[in-house]
Subunit: 137 residues, 6 copies
C-alpha cells in the first residue's frame, strides 16, 4: 500500500463552489464523470487548480499537433523525469486516444535514446555545427 | 567563442577505416555529405561510434511512429535535459522533416507543461488512480 | 558570442496586436519599459505568450509567500535544472526585490545540499518514517 | 508494503560509539528523542554520517535566511528531483516550523512554474539580456 | 504492494522465438538461468530488446574499465536520476562483482557530492578556468 | 566570450583571512599553487567555502575506492546533470590521476547507457525482482 498524499484528496462533497466549477468543466471537456486524483490534490488551492486546468486544457487541445502526439510527448517527458503518477495517467490517456503497445515502445525507445545521446554530447562538450544554427536576426 | 570539445573532433583525414565506414553509412543513410560533430567526437571509440549510430538509426527509422514525431519527442527530451547541442541539432533535423514554427512552439509548450505537472504530482505525492492502472497479469 | 536563439526575438515593431497587448501588460505590471528576451521568444505563439505570462504573474504575486521568497525558490529550481537564462534573470529579479549576496549564497547552499541528500536517500532507498506520513483521510 | 532499504537501518542498540555521538547531537539539536531513518541508513559510514549531519545542521541554521524559508527551498528542490523520502520529511519539517497548507501550495506552484519556464528558455535557447548580466570584474 | 507494470512481463512460455533467443543469450552470458524483469518488459518489442541487450552487454564488458567500476558508475547515475528499479538491480549486480558496503557508501557519497557541487557551479555560473580547457585542435 | 559569473571571483588580494586559510589548504593538499575558479566563487561565504572544501577533500580521498575511480564517478554525474564547469574541471582532474581517452569514452558510454535504461525502467514501471531485494532486517 502506497503512502498517503501530502494533502488529502478533495471529494465532490468537500469541494467549494470554485473547485466544483473546475471539476464540472473537467467532466464536460472530457465527457466523463471521472475526475482524477491530480485535480483533487490541487483543489487545496482553487485558483491554482483553475489556472493549471485551463492551461493543460489549452496546451493539450488540437493545434499544429494532434492530441495523441501531445500525449506521446507527455509520456516521454514523464519517463525522463520519473514521475510515477504522470507515467500511469498519460499512458492511460494516450491509449484512450489510440496509442498501441508498439507506439508506446517506440516513444520510450526514442525518449531513452535521447537521454543517452544528451549525455554523450554534454560529457564531450560537442560544439554545435554551424549548419544547425539558425540565422542571426 | 565557446570552449573546445573535451576530445578533438575527428576529421575525414584522421578517420580510421572503422570510423570511415560509419561516416560513409551516415552519409548514405542521410543522402548528404555532411557528418555532424556529434559523430566526429564519438569517433574516438570506433566501437561506441558504430553502436550508437546503429541504434540511433534503428530507433529513428519509420515504424509505429513516423520520423517527424520521433524528432519532436527528441526535442522535448533534450529541452527537459537542457542539452544545447541536441536542442540545436534535433530542431534542425525536425525542420528538415517538415516541422513548422507553430509545431515547435507546441512541442515546447507540452514538454514544459509536463515538466510543471510532473513536479506538482511528485510534490503532493498524488496516489495513482485505480482507473489508470493496467490490469495485473 | 553565444549562439542565436532557435527562433528570432520579436521586437516591438514586429509585435502583432495580441503580442503587443501582453508586452504592454508586462510593462504596466513591472512599471518598467523593459521587456526581456524570454517573452520576445515566446511571442512566436501569442496564445502561449499570454498564457505563460498570466500564470507567471499570478504565481509570483504576493500571497501566502512574499515575492522575494518566491524568487529565491525560482533560483533554487533553476540552479537544480541548470537553466542559464533563468539563473541570470531570476538572480537579477531577486536582487531587485532585496536579495543580498549573503542570501544568494544561502539559497544556493540549501539547494545544493538538497540535491546532495536527495541522492543519498534515493540511492539507499530509505523508507519514509511513519512519523512523517500525513494521516490517511 | 514498500521495498526494504539497500542497507539495513542502524538501531540505537547497533550504533557504534561514533554513530551514537551523532545520534545524540541530532537529538540535542532538535530537542527530540526521534532520529529519523535517513541518519540510520547513513550510519553505515560513521564519518559520512557525521560530515553530512554537520553540514546539514550548518546549512539549515538561521542566517541570512530563516529556517522556514530554507525548508521551503528544500521542498522545492526535492519535488523537482522527485525524492519521495525528502518530500515527506521536509514537508513535515516545514510544518513543524510553521508552514501552512496555503504556503505549501504556493511553494509547489513556484517550483512547478520554474520547471516549466526553465524548459521554454532552454528549448528556445533564449539569449541572456544584457540587463541581467552582472558587471564584469 | 506496488503497482503493476505498464505492459505485462513476458514469461518464457509467451516468448516469441526472437525474444527467446535474446533470453538465451542473457542466460549464456551471465551463466545463470535468471532473466530479470527489465528484459521481460522490453520483450514487447523484440528488436528493441535485442538492441538494448546487445549494447548493454558491449558497454558493460571489460575494457579500459573493469566491470565492477562500470557497475559503480551505473549506481551513481541511477541514484542521480532516482530510478528505483536500476538502483536495486545494479546494487545487486555490483555486489555480485565484489562491491562491499564500504564501497557502496563511497559511491553514493561521491555521487551526492557531485550533485551538490554541480548546482553551486551552475547557480554561480562559474567560468571554466583556462587551465582546464583542452587545447584547441 | 562567456557571461560573467553571478558574483565576482575572489582574488588572493581580496581574500579575507578565513578565505586565505582555505586557499592555503587547497594549495597544500594539491601541492600546487593553483586555486580554481569554483573556490574563488564560493569565497563570498567563507563558512560555506570551508565546509564545501572540507567535505570534498574527505569524500575524494583514498578509501574503499581509489581517487581515480571517484573522479570517474564525478564525471558521470556531471555529464548526467550537464554541469559544464564540472565536466571540464573533473575531466582535467581525472586526467591528472591517470585517466586515458579510452577510459573517458567508457565512462561516458556507461553513464549514457544508464541514462537510457533508467528511462526504460521508469517508463514501463518495471517491478523490482525479488532476487534483487535486500533481506528485510
Amino acid at each position: 500500500m502506497s503512502h498517503p498524499p501530502i494533502l488529502p484528496l478533495v471529494s465532490d462533497e468537500d469541494a467549494s463552489p470554485d473547485v466544483k466549477a473546475v471539476f464540472d468543466d473537467i467532466r464536460a471537456t472530457r465527457r466523463s464523470d471521472f475526475v482524477n486524483n491530480f485535480w483533487r490534490a490541487l483543489a487545496h488551492d482553487p485558483a491554482q487548480l483553475r489556472r493549471t486546468w485551463e492551461s493543460v486544457k489549452a496546451v493539450m487541445a488540437p493545434g499544429a499537433l494532434d492530441p495523441l502526439t501531445k500525449e506521446l510527448i507527455y509520456i516521454a517527458v514523464s519517463a525522463t523525469n520519473n514521475c510515477e503518477y504522470c507515467t500511469y495517467s498519460h499512458t492511460a490517456g494516450a491509449r484512450a486516444k489510440g496509442m498501441t503497445d508498439a507506439m508506446l515502445m517506440e516513444v520510450l525507445a526514442v525518449a531513452a535514446k535521447a537521454n543517452e545521446t544528451n549525455r554523450l554530447a554534454n560529457g564531450l562538450r560537442v560544439p554545435v555545427d554551424e549548419a544547425f544554427l539558425p540565422p542571426r536576426a
